[in-house]
Symmetry: C2
Subunit: 321 residues, 2 copies
């Protein structure tokens, strides 16, 4: 592949495909040049800039930048909220997802994976784990006090897109290219995007001035964690993590990585929202009913790192706008 | 499939897939419930609304709503331009494209199709037809005076996404659902989106108050064209159409459809931009160097249909803002 993402497919056999259901089989010649592994980014700039650096929001697995736009029940998401707080916000679709498109089977090995309708309900601490989903909404076992807008779960599932399991290197290369283009910056990462973002920060520590990692599903490489010694990190966890082995396991990886960063002289703050009295948050906390309160926690932490202009402090309330 | 797009996959064999390149083969059970055929829409509302109805922008084949955002060389696209002119703008990714995701091979028959790097250059009247592409930029045969920002062709190709050939009914159903939700409205259609949009208008003529079809690649069903008798239509064509058989053929279909609408008492205005002295426009005219001038032609036509507030007229210039 060339540096600009053009790949030549050569020597592949011409194959027969059915182009229209019920139609005849016809020849497809896959050979030729293709643009692949590009990444889509959309940015929004506030009228009055109070964040000192661009804020890049990276989504989790099976999702796109839509994660940050609105909530399934139609409220504002963190994109709008941080825009109102005065941040330049950059929302991207990782390589392979959404508007970034995807490459053909002649370029990418493996197949895309599709999530079932029940899967995120049971895995993302909306329902109470495995077996909590039921086709009958009345029979679904929602976690008590869960903040996810469960009545709009159908709209959430409309945001899910297929993902590959073979494209991590391409995804990271796309994010590194974005960082080289628009940073220094702050990263706001979610889930699978947490693991990607921490690895990108290891590759470009001078460009990443702070990281907010929301329930990172895996971390960076502990052997390279020292690269983050001058990059303050906030790791944020919702409720019910202890009851769900999957999230206990991810948090263990995250905290081991945090320890490695600290051992190198870096700083990692870990906030478990229930410790702040903020309860019931699912893995999709940017969509939860109290997503504004969590945005405020993040905004306050960013202000504490010196990353906002003084006017970001709302003096009438003693809090960050 | 249920009305809300949930499909149950049943009775499919568990198959072996390779999840990670070089890794072992493992079982994939495709059976279960899936959300499919949803559509992504993003909207932008102007501070001062001068368009009387929402303006829905629908993209062409192999593309997404990104078509309307910016140009490959980094200028503003029609999304921003019509926002500034005071229109509520709704940009969507058709079912199967971009942020709308796509369904698994267990749901959709056929395979996605990938455009080669050379294909749009030769087909979209950027280069001078078949054989005009060359890997060496100096050897590409660009049409004389072409307005496409050919030096940024690489960025254009990064917007191309795969498409299916089996999903027309699902795409149209998604658009009809959007129309039922946000219209009455005006449709701005491009290429393949033209054919989709005219069919949607046949299904919901009372909801579609005007249509701007930019080089529609095929039209609606002439037998149903009478449904558009109260919906004014503008068909807009760029330069060099006559020299390229593909576009001559599409225009023939478009003009036959226009004749059918007129025969039913409707109105279709057909503008060939060169007749207005606007020359060199490619099939991707919303990205061409003179995209602002073409936006003005469209805005003027919409104003002439009574679809803008009087303040939309810029009195200092005697033109539409």
């Amino acid at each position: 592949m060339s540096a600009d993402g053009i790949v030549a497919i050569e020597g592949k056999p011409v194959r027969d495909i059915v182009r229209v259901p019920g139609g005849p089989s016809s020849k497809l010649d896959p050979n030729g040049q293709y643009q692949v592994e590009q990444m889509y980014v959309q940015y929004f700039l506030p009228k009055r800039r109070l964040g000192k650096l661009p804020l890049l929001m990276w989504h989790g697995g099976g999702l796109t930048g839509v994660t940050y736009e609105t909530t399934p029940d139609g409220r504002e998401g963190w994109l709008n909220m941080f825009g109102r707080k005065g941040w330049d916000v950059y929302v991207s679709d990782a390589v392979e997802r959404g508007r970034s498109g995807f490459a053909s089977p002649d370029v990418w090995a493996g197949e895309p994976i599709f999530l079932t309708y029940a899967d995120p309900f049971e895995r993302f601490r909306i329902g109470d784990g495995e077996g909590s989903w039921n086709a009958d909404p009345a029979k679904r076992k929602v976690l008590p006090g869960d903040q996810f807008p469960v009545e709009a779960y159908d709209n959430y599932m409309k945001q899910i897109v297929p993902r590959w399991l073979s494209t991590d290197a391409a995804v990271i290369a796309g994010y590194v290219a974005l960082v080289d283009k628009v940073c220094p910056c702050v990263l706001l990462l979610h889930s699978q995007g947490g693991s990607f973002g921490l690895k990108v920060a290891e590759a470009r520590p001078d460009k990443i001035k702070a990281i907010v990692a929301v329930e990172p599903a895996g971390a960076g490489n502990p052997d390279k964690a020292g690269a983050l010694k001058d990059t303050p990190v906030l790791m944020l966890f919702g409720d019910y993590v202890d009851q769900h082995p999957r999230w206990v396991a991810y948090r263990k990886l995250d905290l081991e990585y945090a320890a490695a960063v600290r051992a190198a002289g870096g700083k990692v703050d870990v906030i478990s929202l229930p410790d702040l009295g903020i309860r019931g948050n699912s893995h999709m906390m940017m969509m939860d009913k109290n997503n504004g309160a969590i945005a405020d926690v993040i905004a306050k932490w960013l202000a504490d790192q010196g990353l906002t202009e003084p006017e970001a402090l709302d003096e009438s309330k003693g809090s960050v706008r």
